[in-house]
């Protein structure tokens, strides 16, 4: 069973708008990551935030983490049509492997 639940399941916006996706997880984590998956292609790592961090930026991406609420959000600013993809949060938990536990994903559609 999957660790994370994401909302919304689907999001449609116009180019230039911001997109916010939320992720909730169930157990204590080591870190949380966000991935992008384009149709028919593999997963691409976007950004990682550690359990002792609250916010992180990378280009147009901003990630927040609230460990008290077991939740994270991904904000994409000034979206582009090329941002159209599915976005997944994935966490690593405190075990002896760094296997990723993925959420259910948000399908983002950016219209030009």
């Amino acid at each position: 069973s999957q660790q994370g639940e994401e909302d919304p399941q689907a999001l449609s916006i116009q180019e230039g708008e911001n997109a916010t996706m939320n992720c909730s997880y169930k157990t204590s984590i080591n870190n949380l990551q966000w991935y992008r998956q384009n149709s028919g292609r593999g997963l691409v790592h976007l950004i990682l935030i550690r359990s002792n961090e609250r916010e992180k930026h990378s280009g147009r991406l901003r990630v927040t983490l609230d460990t008290s609420k077991k939740s994270s959000s991904l904000l994409i600013t000034a979206s582009r049509a090329a941002d159209t993809a599915s976005y997944f949060c994935a966490s690593t938990v405190l075990t002896n492997t760094d296997k990723l536990i993925f959420g259910t994903g948000t399908r983002l559609q950016v219209f030009p």
């Binding site: 999957q2 994370g4 080591n30 870190n31 028919g40 292609r41 593999g42 997963l43 691409v44 790592h45 990682l48 550690r50 997944f88 994935a90 690593t92 405190l94 075990t95 002896n96 492997t97 760094d98 296997k99 990723l100 536990i101 993925f102 959420g103 259910t104 994903g105």
Partner: protein, 119 residues
């Protein structure tokens, strides 16, 4: 550049057939993971190798699933007596090393996946 490659990209099997899916990780990567992604869902962990040692197979859904990495590089995921519920995309990922509890993180690089359809 040489990323993670998987073959075949698409596989159609009749129920009851055995299939073998191949993963070529990035050269020198110690860790190798297999994930299963059902349609419209996020990937789910199947198994993990550190070099040739299979350290975690807790995600394998049944004893029909078997994975190996005999020389610590190429890995094969085998599914015996395929069932319709096995239809999914099987993703392989590799990373440079094992992440330790001091927080060192080694990014997992994913292959394009093998889409398995069982009819």
């Amino acid at each position: 550049g040489a990323g993670v490659s998987q073959s075949p990209r698409y596989k159609v099997a009749k129920r009851g057939q055995d299939v073998a899916l191949r993963c070529d990780p990035i050269s020198g990567h110690v860790s190798l993971f297999w994930y299963q992604q059902a349609l419209g869902q996020g990937p789910e962990f199947l198994t993990y190798f550190q070099n040739e040692a299979q350290l975690d197979k807790s995600g394998l859904p049944s004893d029909r699933f078997f994975a190996e990495r005999p020389e610590g590089s190429v890995s094969t995921l085998k599914i015996q007596r395929t069932q319709q519920e096995d239809s999914a995309v099987y993703l392989c990922a590799s990373s440079l090393a094992f992440v330790d509890r001091t927080g060192n993180f080694y990014e997992q690089y994913f292959g394009p996946g093998t889409r398995l359809t069982v009819t």
